[in-house]
């Protein structure tokens, strides 16, 4: 089975300290992001990644292990971001 890679639509960013807001140019929607969501979107915006690859990058920056529980959290995060239209699978 092919493993999906994820990327972002065109986003415009605004941040004040840890508070990050993105404007999704495609949908016209604005979102106030949690720090981890913002970090995930910044990673995917630079380069598409699978959930496994994204988990490794997020875990690396937080100096934790990308264990099974961590990957499950990232999977849920991507599901939420997908529902909001903030990520999309790479075709």
């Amino acid at each position: 089975m092919r493993v999906l890679s994820w990327t972002t639509p065109r986003l415009v960013w605004k941040s004040w300290g840890e508070e990050v807001i993105v404007f999704n140019v495609a949908s016209g929607n604005t979102h106030l992001l949690s720090p981890v969501a913002a970090q995930a979107l910044r990673i995917l915006e630079q380069n598409p990644a699978t959930i496994f690859e994204l988990s490794n990058k997020l875990a690396g920056s937080a100096s934790v292990d990308a264990d099974e529980e961590f990957i499950e959290h990232v999977e849920k995060l991507i599901t939420n971001l997908d529902e909001l239209g903030l990520v999309e699978p790479v075709s």
């Binding site: 415009v12 605004k14 004040w16 508070e19 404007f23 106030l32």
Partner: protein, 316 residues
């Protein structure tokens, strides 16, 4: 020529036909009606506003028509028209003037997409604007009226207009709508404050409009730079409590409460980003207007400039 230059009879006749062109900040309305309640409200509350020659050019052509019934027990009502459209159900004749104000607000909020239109009051001092957002009942109009009485320039009591090209706030300086107990509260601060007729039994309770100060109307063409954003909440008792509000939360509140943020798309995002960037943001609980006015009097626009300068210095 200003409205005050017309006698009451001339004003009534002219509003009836062909209507008058009133300039209110960036908008010109062509108002035509035979309803005396509206002409009287215009005479009392808009006397300093300029009227233009009958050019046929206006942002909004609005009229109010008294509905007629052959049945004497049916109370007379008034219907609003924008051009040939009649978007709302009629209201009782006694509510004709508040209806004019509500419908004028609706015209701006619905059509003035050259601005980001935010549901908020705004006042100005020394060229800097304080924006007072808040849901109905939060006390923003009462606070706005109190600040205006104490010398702040009225920009708007309901619709804050931010120009995308300049990020400045355009003034409307129209009458301030007050409800129920707020009318007496404002009268207690300054018994000389002029009001139009008080309408009882509207959907919002008793409604009265406070006449805008002449100085505010004369300077309606002067835009103001956004500097402070204060979310007021009126409490029946307790000490004043002002707390910083995060810029992210402020942004999202404005995005939700703006009339056309979504319609403006990326422009709306950029205008709002700039607005929130340059403002100090607070929530404010208050029960005593005198305490609050004192707090506002302490606002100093130089504090932001000093902070910005030191930030630039540290980056360099």
């Amino acid at each position: 020529m200003q409205i005050a230059h017309l006698s009451p009879t001339q004003l009534i006749e002219r509003i009836k036909d062909p209507g008058i062109y009133i300039e209110t900040g960036p908008f010109t309305i062509h108002l035509q009606t035979a309803v005396a309640h509206i002409a009287e409200g215009i005479r009392l509350l808009y006397e300093d506003f300029p009227i233009l020659e009958n050019s046929g050019v206006a942002d909004f052509h609005i009229s109010f028509i008294r509905t007629r019934s052959l049945r004497p027990w049916v109370r007379p009502e008034v219907r609003f028209r924008l051009d040939s459209e009649s978007p709302f159900a009629p209201l009782p004749l006694e509510q004709a003037f508040p209806m004019f104000e509500w419908c004028f607000n609706w015209c701006i909020s619905r059509h003035a997409n050259q601005y980001l239109v935010i549901h908020a009051a705004a006042v100005e001092r020394d060229g800097y604007a304080t924006i007072l957002p808040g849901p109905p009942g939060s006390g923003k109009s009462t606070l706005c009226a109190a600040l205006v009485i104490r010398g702040w320039r009225l920009l708007t009591d309901e619709l804050t207009l931010v120009a995308p090209a300049t990020n400045m706030i355009a003034a409307l300086s129209r009458p301030i709508a007050l409800k129920n107990r707020s009318i007496d509260v404002i009268r207690s601060i300054d018994p000389q404050t002029a009001f139009g007729p008080i309408c009882q039994d509207t959907a919002k309770g008793a409604v009265g409009h406070m006449r805008p100060p002449t100085e505010s109307v004369l300077h309606v063409g002067d835009p103001a730079l956004p500097r402070w954003i204060v979310f007021p909440t009126y409490k029946t008792k307790g000490a004043m409590n002002a707390r910083p509000m995060s810029k992210g939360q402020t942004f999202m509140w404005f995005a939700r409460s703006s009339f056309n943020y979504t319609l403006l798309g990326l422009t709306g995002f950029e205008v709002l980003s700039n607005l929130v960037d340059r403002a100090d943001c607070f929530t404010l609980e208050y029960s005593n207007l005198h305490d609050v006015i004192e707090w506002f009097d302490g606002f100093d626009p130089r504090e932001l400039a000093a902070a910005a300068n030191s930030a630039h210095a540290s980056q360099a």
